[in-house]
C-alpha cells in the first residue's frame, strides 16, 4: 500500500474537502498526490439541523455519502488518525499504520463532549431532553416542540467554544414562533441559560437580537453553565460562572447545546496549543512551529466563531499558502477572521450576521443585515445548501 503523499489532509469535513478541491482545481498535477483521511461514511450539512429540529426541513437532505464528495484526483483513506509525528512528517492511522506527507493540513473538526453534563447522555432523546447537535437525535427536538403543551421551555449555551455559536438561540426563536402558532405561548415561559456574557458578540447584531428577545418575552440568564440534568425531576442544574454558586431550574422541555472541545488526537499531540486546539498563525493559518503544517476550521485556535462560513474564507487561504510553500514562495495569503451566522429568528425571518476578527460587521448584501428579513431566510433554507454541496465542496465558492 502506498504510504507517502505530497499532501495529507486529516478530516474530510467542510474544511478538508474544500481545500482538496481548491488545490486540485489550481494545480492539476497534484492529482493522486492528495490523501484525505476520515473514518466517516457520511458527510453532513449540519447548519440544516436547526431547521430540521423545528420541522422546517428533512434531515435526510443534510446527509450525503462521503464517496460522492471526495474531489476527483484526491484519494480517501477511510481510517482514523490516532497520532501525529510532525518531526518525521508522519501521521499514524488506526488500521493502515504510518502515512508520510510533505505537507499536512489538519481539518478534523470539533468533538462533542456529551458526558461533561451529568445525566445528559442517558436522558438525550427522551423525557423532553433534546439537542439539534446530533443527526441521530435531531428529530426528537421536533417531536418535543410538537408535544409541548405549555410550561417552561429551557434552552442552553455551554461554557466552551461551539460550532455555530448562533445555533443555541436559533432553535429557541423557532420554538417560540411555533408555540405562538399552536396557541401554547401564552401559558409558557421561555428561558435562555447561556455561559456568554451577552446574546451576541458583535454590537450591531447584539442590539438587534436584544429587541428580538424583548419582543418574544424570553427570560435570559447570562454567565451560567448547565452542569447536570435530572431528567426524572425535570430539573436543570446550573453553575454561575462568576460566583461558582449552583442553582436549579425546573423545565418542561430542554434543548441542550453540549460542551465541545478539540478532538483528543489533537489535544494529545504536539500540534496543540495550551487549550488543545491546532496552534496556527491567525492570518496565514500555518502552524506556528511546523511550517509544512496548516490548519483550518473548528479544530484550530483561530479567535473567531467556528462556522462553515468561516471555513469558506479559510480554505482559499490554506490552498494558496500550501501551494506557494510547495514552490518555494513565502505564504502571504491572509485570513481576516471572517465568520458568518445566519440567525433564524422565526419561520420566515433571519438576521444575517457577518463579521471579522475585530467583531466589525463585514456585510455582503447592499442593505442592513441586522434587520430581520424573509429574503435572508430563503437564502439560508433554499440557497445555502446548494452553495455548500455544489460550490464550496467543489472549490468554487
Amino acid at each position: 500500500m502506498r504510504t507517502h503523499y505530497r499532501v495529507i489532509i486529516v478530516g474530510a469535513g467542510t474544511g478538508g474537502i474544500s481545500v482538496a478541491a481548491r488545490l486540485l482545481r489550481d494545480k492539476h498535477h497534484l492529482a493522486d498526490e492528495i490523501l484525505l483521511i476520515d473514518p466517516e461514511e457520511k458527510h453532513y450539512y449540519q447548519p440544516l439541523w436547526t431547521l430540521v429540529g423545528a420541522g422546517a426541513a428533512k434531515k435526510e437532505e443534510s446527509e450525503r455519502g462521503m464517496e460522492t464528495l471526495i474531489p476527483s484526483g484526491a484519494k480517501w483513506l477511510q481510517d482514523k488518525v490516532i497520532g501525529f509525528n510532525p518531526e518525521a512528517n508522519q501521521v499514524e492511522t488506526a488500521s493502515h499504520g504510518m502515512m508520510e506527507y510533505d505537507y499536512l493540513i489538519v481539518a478534523s473538526g470539533i468533538e462533542i463532549d456529551w458526558g461533561r453534563i451529568k445525566g445528559l447522555e442517558a436522558a438525550l432523546g427522551t423525557k423532553q431532553v433534546c439537542s439539534n447537535y446530533s443527526y441521530q437525535h435531531v428529530d426528537y427536538t421536533w417531536d418535543t416542540l410538537r408535544g409541548f403543551e405549555g410550561g417552561t421551555a429551557l434552552f442552553t449555551h455551554p461554557a466552551s467554544p461551539v460550532k455555530c455559536g448562533g445555533a443555541p438561540q436559533k432553535i429557541m426563536y423557532l420554538a417560540e414562533d411555533y408555540f405562538v402558532k399552536t396557541g401554547v405561548r401564552d401559558n409558557s415561559k421561555i428561558v435562555f441559560g447561556s455561559a456568554n456574557p451577552a446574546i451576541f458578540d458583535v454590537a450591531k447584531y447584539r442590539s438587534a437580537l436584544e429587541k428580538v428577545l424583548e419582543r418574544k418575552r424570553i427570560d435570559t440568564h447570562f454567565r451560567v453553565n448547565l452542569i447536570e440534568i435530572k431528567a426524572d425531576e425535570k430539573t436543570a442544574v446550573f453553575e454561575h460562572l462568576d460566583s461558582g454558586e449552583t442553582f436549579d431550574l425546573h423545565y418542561d422541555m430542554i434543548h441542550v447545546t453540549p460542551p465541545m472541545q478539540a478532538p483528543a488526537v489533537i489535544r494529545n499531540s504536539k500540534l496543540a496549543d495550551a487549550g488543545g486546539w491546532v496552534d496556527v498563525d491567525m492570518y496565514t493559518l500555518q502552524h506556528k512551529q511546523y511550517k509544512n503544517i496548516f490548519g483550518l476550521g473548528d479544530c484550530t485556535n483561530l479567535p473567531t466563531s467556528k462556522t462553515g462560513a468561516a471555513i469558506r474564507k479559510q480554505a482559499p487561504v490554506v490552498a494558496k499558502n500550501v501551494s506557494d510553500l510547495m514552490y518555494g514562495q513565502v505564504p502571504v495569503a491572509s485570513y481576516d477572521g471572517y465568520s458568518s451566522c445566519p440567525i433564524v429568528t422565526g419561520y420566515n425571518k433571519l438576521i444575517l450576521a457577518e463579521f471579522d476578527y475585530e467583531k466589525v460587521p463585514q456585510e455582503s448584501m447592499p442593505f442592513n443585515q441586522a434587520k430581520e428579513r424573509h429574503s435572508m431566510y430563503i437564502l439560508k433554507k433554499d440557497f445555502l445548501p446548494i452553495m455548500y454541496w455544489n460550490g464550496m465542496l467543489k472549490g468554487t465558492m
Binding site: D382, I386, T396
Partner: protein, 184 residues
C-alpha cells in the same frame, strides 16, 4: 593590511562545512555546467546566423507586408496585455460560476432538492388558483341553473347577509369620509 583581512575572511569562509560542501558539489557538476553553457552558446550562434540570413529577412518582410498587422494592432496588443491581470480575474470568476452551474446541473440530489423547493413555493399559489377557479365555476353553474325571478323580497333578504352588510358598511364609511373631507 586590508588585503590580509580579506584573505583571512576568505579562508574562514572556505573552512565552513556548508561552503566546502557547496564547492565540492559545484566541482562535481562542472562537466554538466560546461555542457549547458555550450548548448546556450550554440543557441545564440543560431539566432545570430538566422538574423543575418538575407533570405530569412526577406521572407519575414513579405510576411509582415501581407498580414493585417499595423501599428494599431501592436498598440492594441500592449493595451490588452496591460488588462490581462483584470481579464484573468474575470475569467477565473466566470470559470467558477460555470463550474458551479455545471455541478448543480449534473448533481441529481441537488436537482431533486431544487424541484422540492420550487414545489413548496408554487403549491400554495396553485392551490389558491384552483380554489378560486372552483368557486367561480360553482357560482356560474348555480347562476345558470337558477331560473327563479329576483324579487324585491330577495333583495331585502340579501341585505341581511353579513358579507353584504360588511360591503355596505365600507361604502357608507367611504361616503362619510369623502363628505367630511369635501367640507374641509
Amino acid at each position: 593590511m586590508e588585503h590580509t583581512t580579506m584573505n583571512k575572511s576568505l579562508e574562514t569562509a572556505l573552512t565552513r562545512p556548508d561552503v566546502e560542501q557547496a564547492l565540492v558539489s559545484l566541482v562535481e557538476r562542472l562537466p554538466e555546467i560546461e555542457k549547458s553553457l555550450r548548448r546556450l552558446e550554440d543557441a545564440v550562434d543560431f539566432g545570430k546566423a538566422t538574423m543575418n540570413d538575407q533570405h530569412v529577412k526577406d521572407k519575414l518582410d513579405s510576411l509582415l507586408d501581407s498580414s493585417n498587422l499595423q501599428i494599431e494592432t501592436l498598440e492594441a496588443a500592449v493595451k490588452l496585455a496591460e488588462k490581462l491581470p483584470m481579464l484573468l480575474q474575470m475569467t477565473n470568476q466566470l470559470e467558477q460560476v460555470l463550474a458551479f452551474a455545471q455541478d448543480v446541473y449534473s448533481d441529481e440530489q441537488t436537482r431533486e432538492l431544487i424541484g422540492q423547493r420550487v414545489d413548496e413555493y408554487v403549491s400554495p399559489v396553485k392551490e389558491k388558483a384552483v380554489a378560486t377557479r372552483t368557486l367561480l365555476t360553482e357560482i356560474r353553474d348555480r347562476a345558470e341553473r337558477d331560473d327563479r325571478q329576483i324579487t324585491l323580497f330577495s333583495l331585502i333578504r340579501w341585505l341581511k347577509e353579513p358579507s353584504v352588510q360588511h360591503g355596505l358598511k365600507y361604502m357608507q364609511a367611504t361616503v362619510e369620509v369623502l363628505s367630511e373631507q369635501t367640507k374641509k
